[in-house]
Symmetry: C2
């Protein structure tokens, strides 16, 4: 039966971000929906952001499309142009290769919860606000120096 039993999936706040970039995502709890369902081409995670938590460092993907739908609560989407509220029912999508970093920040007093899906090729990407870039092989300072800790998928 393909209905995803969310209650059986353990949320994880694991991140591969090297310090200190891991700190803002400590309150991001992810459940690996796509993996649980045996999906291979479509990535899918259910994400809860505690108050104050970020969805990620502000980033873009060179080869992957991303889309999220807010299921409950509210967060603020931050991009180059500024801020946009994202409320329950809102759908937000980012096409591969558009170098306008995005992330969501929960500035409210209650958790918010969304489903995030992605597809495409793992061709790395960039971060808008920090001196880091990512490739399939790991995280690098923008001058090309590898970070000591290799990136682990959440």
């Amino acid at each position: 039966m393909p209905k995803v039993e969310l209650d059986r999936l353990t949320p994880s706040n694991r991140t591969g971000y090297p310090p200190p970039f891991h700190q803002p995502v400590a309150g991001r709890w992810q459940r690996a929906v796509g993996q649980a369902a045996g999906l291979t081409a479509l990535g899918a995670r259910e994400v809860t952001l505690d108050p104050g938590a970020w969805s990620s460092q502000r980033h873009w993907h060179e080869g992957e499309d991303e889309l999220l739908v807010m299921l409950a609560g509210e967060a603020v989407l931050i991009e180059d142009e500024g801020e946009t509220p994202v409320r329950a029912g809102d759908i937000v999508a980012w096409a591969a290769g558009v170098r306008n970093g995005h992330h969501l920040v929960n500035r409210g007093d209650a958790p918010c919860r969304f489903l995030c899906v992605s597809a495409g090729s793992d061709a790395g990407g960039g971060y808008s606000d920090i001196d880091m870039m990512f490739t399939p092989a790991g995280d690098y300072v923008k001058d090309g120096t590898p970070y000591a800790k290799s990136r682990a998928a959440p």
Copy 2:
């Protein structure tokens, strides 16, 4: 700004199903979310099913993962094993190549609304309840005879 402005997208009940298989999806209204957002690797449609409408003929994809999240209302998921209610907030996923046909039927008195996403390769697939199969080139009777009307993507 990547927030999808659903109100600006025109719902379509177009289908490429040849008669009489088009009839049960006449009350299926789709908005092309992924296309509007410029996505190329990730398919995304917001779908409203009027009372009585089906999401599709009961089918599977050989090369594409599919996932939906019910946003409002309720429908019944039908597969080989039987029926499962799908309610607002439920997530349902189908891995590519699993030959267990699925579709949703709205048996209620009110519309239901879901987001459906997909990714993978267009390798065709099959239908569980009707004498039809689909390939990237169109629809065929299971004996290999092409249907007169070629399949058009909704």
